[in-house]
Symmetry: C2
Subunit: 339 residues, 2 copies
């Protein structure tokens, strides 16, 4: 058995129905994940290949989506760059010693990322084997702008004014960091592909904090550099909030697909990308709180609007922790039942 729906959609080949997976599908809303969460710390789960593989496979065994995304975190890159990252359940990630000066930025150098993050590659190897073709294996990394946000702010933020201030007042230092993150990420994603990832997604979760001109300067070049450098497998770019960049990303990068959030209508997205690229998304994660039958009709309507070809059904952002399992299942089932 070989489920290649996702790869077909990424290559623009004809499919009988669109493939489906859910961002953060391996994680917080699943009871079997909660069991492991009580026994192991967050980074124990991430850094133990057996555990990461087990968590990655949990939603596959339960719902049978068309893709498995490796259980990991975008902040493993700051870790590989020598930064401490703490994760206290309930308060989100923290970098206790963020970058605050140009000197601190210039001190950051490209690490041996494959050595530092060998456990991710091992987790991918184990998962791919256990998938046995049931679903496509997805690797991932954070986009340079989003990683820079965390490295400078030290945590999530309402306005990310500190990282913007850093870019405006220390542009050379910011560009150095973005360059180091980009090069490191390229090596990291290629290693994931060598280990078994069949496609990779780049999460620019904070891209939408940037206006169009700042996006051109601080986000776009690095997304392009990554997608152009990864020739071994298709690349999915997910620039959350950057609706204004869809045209540019689809035309001026070699990305195979673009993930969009729920503020972008299917019609706008298809039009902006000239119907020429695969789109992924964009069900509002909050709508998984609707009753299952309404989730199903919402998913059907969404597919009707995007069309079945060059389309990957997904949420517009990660699944929320309090979603009932039956509602997550309804989302996946709606795609499989699509007529």
């Amino acid at each position: 058995m070989q489920n290649d729906l996702l790869l077909k959609a990424l290559r623009g080949e004809k499919v009988d129905r669109p493939p489906v997976w859910m961002m953060r599908q391996a994680g917080r809303y699943l009871p079997e994940y909660q069991v492991l969460r009580k026994k192991y710390s967050f980074f124990e789960r991430v850094e133990t290949p057996e555990l990461a593989a087990e968590i990655t496979l949990q939603p596959i065994d339960r719902f049978g989506p068309d893709a498995a995304i490796i259980f990991s975190d975008i902040l493993v890159i700051p870790q590989a760059l020598g930064f401490e990252v703490t994760m206290n359940e309930g308060e989100g990630p923290r970098l206790p010693n963020p970058v605050r000066t140009a000197d601190q930025a210039f001190a950051v150098q490209i690490p041996d990322v494959v050595h530092h993050l060998h456990y991710v590659m091992e987790a991918i190897r184990i998962t791919r084997e256990r998938l046995a073709g049931r679903a496509t294996m997805i690797g991932f990394a954070g986009a340079p702008w989003t990683i820079l946000c965390y490295m400078v702010e030290g945590k999530g933020s309402k306005d990310f004014s500190r990282v913007k201030q850093f870019c405006y007042t220390e542009p050379e230092a910011a560009r150095h960091l973005l360059d180091v993150i980009t090069k490191t990420t390229i090596t990291y994603l290629k290693a994931q592909i060598s280990a078994g990832a069949q496609t990779v997604q780049v999460f620019d979760s904070w891209a939408g904090l940037l206006g169009p001109e700042d996006f051109s300067e601080w986000a776009f070049p690095y997304l392009k550099e990554i997608s152009d450098a990864i020739t071994e497998a298709p690349v999915i770019l997910y620039p959350k909030g950057s609706w204004y960049a869809l045209e540019r990303l689809s035309i001026k990068t070699t990305a195979a697909a673009i993930g969009i959030d729920w503020t972008v209508s299917p019609e706008y997205a298809r039009n902006a990308t000239r119907n020429e690229i695969t789109l992924q998304g964009n069900f509002d994660p909050s709508k998984l709180m609707l009753p299952p039958n309404e989730i199903k009709s919402g998913v059907k309507r969404m597919i009707d609007r995007f069309g079945t070809q060059r389309y990957i059904v997904n949420l517009g952002h990660g699944i929320l922790p309090n979603i009932p399992v039956d509602n997550a299942r309804a989302f996946i089932d709606a795609v499989k039942e699509y007529r």
Copy 2:
């Protein structure tokens, strides 16, 4: 002396240069505000007409912008509806007893808002008199969707999943609350105009959390009801994040102007609104951390792109607390020096 630049721009009349003011210009970044902040609590400042007027006038005396927006808070409406609101400096507003059930929602009824919030009208009266024509007096309120967010969530949120869940699972109760908020807000804004406000702005700070369809259901009808009901003065709608709604808001409401955030390019905004409505915005507040000369060139470029007519220079969101006073001044001066 009568500075009517803002009113002219709102009416689409010819101006020699566009008017300018800054969202949250009365407040946190000003040293003279900090003096009052140490002496009086947040709600003492809001509820004492003399203090609110003094704070409103501080940026006028200092920088001479073309408009003064009354110092107040959007959460006075939940207060008038009987909800406790606490404001602990540094953590943002809280409603300790938010709406969590349909019964709680249906218990909320239209209050005598003019009685409850008489101090706002008094502050507007005092301010208008002391302005003596130097600047246009702006009143404001929160948009119903944004007020509902606070009333259900009880505080700011990353994903506002609780208020969305409430709308999805208790739509009638949510619509009742939105209706009560809307009716109350209309009466409140009309009272502000009677007291001296020459235009009013409606802040839909959380509109961008909604996808286009949810915006149509949970935000748009109430924005339209308010703007259509206010015939006594021009209305400015500020739907932060809802780029996709600019066309609808400009065509299907009687609003005089739409405020836009910095993710929307001037060209997109002009095109979406068919060059037929006054636009307000949209300098990225973080860019006030640039050196003053770069702020000035940025503002000039922004005016060049929006054009000088049917345009109100402003930030794309509120000014940040850590902006140097000279940088705020550079923003205002850049407009006055525009050639």
